[in-house]
Subunit: 348 residues, 4 copies
Amino acid sequence: MSTKKYRVGIVGASGYTGSELARILIHHPQSDLVAITSESHRGKRFSDLHQQFSGILDTTLIGSDELDIQNLDVLFLALPHGVSMEFVKRWMNSGVKLIDLSGDFRLSSPTVYEEWYKKDHTFPEGFETAVYGMPELHAEAIRKARLVANPGCYPTASILSLAPVFHSGVAVDPNGAIVDAKSGTTGAGVKASNTTHFSNVNDNFKAYGIGNHRHTVEIQEQLSFLVKKSVNLQFTPHLLPVDRGILATSYIQLTGGMTQQKLNALYRDFYHDQPFVRIRKEAPAIKEVRGSNFADLFPFWDSRTNRAIIVAAIDNLVKGAAGQAVHNMNLMLGLDESMGLLQVPLQP
Amino acid sequence: MSTKKYRVGIVGASGYTGSELARILIHHPQSDLVAITSESHRGKRFSDLHQQFSGILDTTLIGSDELDIQNLDVLFLALPHGVSMEFVKRWMNSGVKLIDLSGDFRLSSPTVYEEWYKKDHTFPEGFETAVYGMPELHAEAIRKARLVANPGCYPTASILSLAPVFHSGVAVDPNGAIVDAKSGTTGAGVKASNTTHFSNVNDNFKAYGIGNHRHTVEIQEQLSFLVKKSVNLQFTPHLLPVDRGILATSYIQLTGGMTQQKLNALYRDFYHDQPFVRIRKEAPAIKEVRGSNFADLFPFWDSRTNRAIIVAAIDNLVKGAAGQAVHNMNLMLGLDESMGLLQVPLQP
Amino acid sequence: MSTKKYRVGIVGASGYTGSELARILIHHPQSDLVAITSESHRGKRFSDLHQQFSGILDTTLIGSDELDIQNLDVLFLALPHGVSMEFVKRWMNSGVKLIDLSGDFRLSSPTVYEEWYKKDHTFPEGFETAVYGMPELHAEAIRKARLVANPGCYPTASILSLAPVFHSGVAVDPNGAIVDAKSGTTGAGVKASNTTHFSNVNDNFKAYGIGNHRHTVEIQEQLSFLVKKSVNLQFTPHLLPVDRGILATSYIQLTGGMTQQKLNALYRDFYHDQPFVRIRKEAPAIKEVRGSNFADLFPFWDSRTNRAIIVAAIDNLVKGAAGQAVHNMNLMLGLDESMGLLQVPLQP
Amino acid sequence: MSTKKYRVGIVGASGYTGSELARILIHHPQSDLVAITSESHRGKRFSDLHQQFSGILDTTLIGSDELDIQNLDVLFLALPHGVSMEFVKRWMNSGVKLIDLSGDFRLSSPTVYEEWYKKDHTFPEGFETAVYGMPELHAEAIRKARLVANPGCYPTASILSLAPVFHSGVAVDPNGAIVDAKSGTTGAGVKASNTTHFSNVNDNFKAYGIGNHRHTVEIQEQLSFLVKKSVNLQFTPHLLPVDRGILATSYIQLTGGMTQQKLNALYRDFYHDQPFVRIRKEAPAIKEVRGSNFADLFPFWDSRTNRAIIVAAIDNLVKGAAGQAVHNMNLMLGLDESMGLLQVPLQP
């Protein structure tokens, strides 16, 4: 067994994706986490920001200008969108493999980006190189990629839910899909705000971004690629009083025949070799995947309404962010794709 | 101002609907809560079961056979379905006004009941007399009723969400409505079970009863009455890690023209004189109605998909149960309909 | 029955104490809430800040300079400490009765204030007039007061717990009392911060302010007045993942004889006529007082260690702030002291 | 590096300690989890009981009579107290190393057991062999033990908090220690009950077992061994609205001189070589150890009261149960003591 260690860095230490990357990478058998950067916390220790790492990862944070790029194999960008593109531009041709966890290169073009993200894109050339980092759909391209755009958390749950039906050629109303999604608050980031103020979230629940959330277009584009025609999707996010987890309930209006057996087979076949997709016999709960890289799917056919209803559960910080990013790293480095990613979900 | 006091009783002390009825009734200016029954806790004090009432309501619980029916004006049945029908049968002709909070008389016929509740109905005659107790739709009939079937919590949120569009005659796909509903755990009752075990709910979220929840038919029937043709509805409940509250996100596929202004007007007009329905300009959160009898609705038209999306928030134990029941009492007694029901929501 | 309405104002609309005062006052039979001020939100509606009041209290917020002080009977100051003293200074001699919910006048002198609050006091004269607004200890003085300093939330729970033993003359170690207190997050205010970020609180628990929390001195001073000698107290606050509520577990080292009966009698006698203190037979839970003005106390004598252990539960925003303030208003206006304050706790 | 695999079994699959043992053991480099028993769920799959293990651990549960004891190296008993003693009796002399996670052999004698557990002990001989499995105190004895009594969760947090001071010979009041402890609900087990009903726990908090919790004696005994005289301890448990975690706030009344530096040194020295005790510079929060085997301690000296206050945080299911049990296994097998136990805490 090869024990080569790859040299890995993380740009952006303060957020949840940064700390989750560290949590996974320090036990990854073939990665060596050699540098973590932070502009605003430069000089502090990583464990000062994330106290759970006390005595485990007390590395001093450096500025990104101190990174020894030539000696890195992989660099994760755990930065907000709009910021990340500048770093991609800077290191695009440095030889380091880039995995960008922001939304800056997930869409098909700068034009679509600017429409939904309401800001200019300063590195449009990046779109030509970027590969959408969903291993279940694009493993081959990821293996060869220099720049991977790691999917959004909602799109991960949504696309995994809808792809098997859309890909199968089963007759569906292309504008009849609705994803009613619910996320924990870590999706809103580490920064204190009214949105994540405890008393505004605890024992509470609400919808937001109705009709215009920017993850809508990310899901639509991926589904359109699959069916090779334009798909119009309804996507409604909600904020759960939980830390982690997305549960997406998706409704697909079928226009032809279906059975429960056939639907099950569709999902089992589509994800046949995938190490992280579990086709469940009951609707999953989000704690059944908490802290893990699993995506649990429950496909249900409602004969009364001829709809396929798919319930998906993921941990938004793992399968929806850091875990999927490490999965992409494994593919890019030619490693076993589940290496370092088989943590058992933390339930209860 | 009339200060006549009506004599009121509650059958069934141990559940949440029983304690919520008491919470509302002891401050109701024209009700006098004279008796509370419990077969299993007979002889105990009400505050032994519900410690928040210590020193406030220490009434001794009596058996239902000890009730002096002739001297009661109103009797609330806060019992499980299947049990309630026996008490309705017993007191149907006693002269007391009955408000049944169970599911036993909500549907159109014993046949439909038996199909969805999977049990025999032992008092089919009750269906002829029972009035569906949703004041926003049936106030006139409720005023004259001897037996009111108080609506289910999910149906209350769902029907209030969908009724204005379905009633308006706007062109819709009659099978195109989806209600994705999320409820706090008190909807599952006071009894300990795996479903409501703290570690199975806390920091967790899941769907249940997909495609076959019995509240589906209650919603369908009420909408069918409104549009005077058969409606086929998709209803999916979920379990939130909160005590109280239902948030329902409803999707109606429109088949003709619409604007946001027109949709707003539809909702404002339909609920013009209703004291408890608030048409909101933003999507409501469930804590904004907690502990109150308000139903907050946010209607949104998505021009991209031509769907009306309605977000509704209620407190399942108040507007979805005890508050609506007291509202029905007010109507049956000819009182001001909001009497005793204007508590401000408890937020935070 | 008198139906005179007193004209009441609230200075400071944005915080939780402001919204709780409004929640209580709008149903108070003899108060008329005529003005609410906010410097930063002037011109907005109260319900814009606190959406639960939509359609209930849509009053426009005014600046404090627009207040018609001469026509007000009572003014509540719901402001941060340091800010409140300026308003007290301004209106001290205007004839309006002032109830200050900040910490600015709770202590015995400006010197003590400056030591524990680490800031200068700009209106030291106020201390001569201010009465510590705990009705269970100082009702007579409150009735005659022009300025009431409403107690802190932790001190309310702590002093109510300890006062009967300390007042009784029972032999205790004057330095042997420990209050281990736990509070919901609303005690930290409405403003978003890392402390109240959902993911830092949810499913979490921690101690803070160990050995130096400023409420320590407030408790010590009140106990010292009672026993007429210096008391040294250990006070440790903790942050609970709940919205509202304080539970204080207090330990008093007894140095003489005691029995459970004697301890019970001490508490029952001390609070004999108090409408809001409930002596419980079991340790109370905080939801058993949520949203109410009750303080529930459970006194326990441990024969093995000869300690009195008292568990107290209050709602920090009601008995620990707004409810106690309205109680003080009732006393100052010569009204029934429980007027408008008998809400049943919201459980579950 | 040795790669010998030890054959390990778990008796009792349905509880949280059973599932946590499995979570840890399946990634332990030198253990091979070959059998899991359950009398009541015999024939089901482990993942039927703990859905988070779907596809990870689908082992069929066997009856304890089907265990091939002769071919096992280590057997964990994850059973309720009272039940466990029977299995210890049965396998005491079988040669398998037994680690008992119940309370049956934690105390010094059957007499003390029967007094505090209120039931007869059917295998008193076990007490002679049993070693109290707290590695920080008894590593040498554990290495040679055939039967380890794994400590209770509260005692683990409490003893780790108090031991350094009590062991040091610093002057303390031997009856002056108070442990005010707060635990998540998983300490109450997997079985549904009123105690763990979501609506009785969520947004709530309470004390229980005041003055008589059976963990009191376990802590007292261990401290008495350390100081070689009788210690009388005050221990008060509380129920937190969280899944996992114990936070214990301990107060030790010192009777001689102390400084913060001296106290820090005491703790750093006492735990010098311990891989799982982290001496923190700030009071730890329970999520900073969640899912991990760390015990975080913050010692604070209050000069005003001359008390040592120690805040300890552990995960009750890991350091307080399954993790400590695997630590004991490592010692008993002569392995590196932290093998398989270095999971990073799951925060947020």
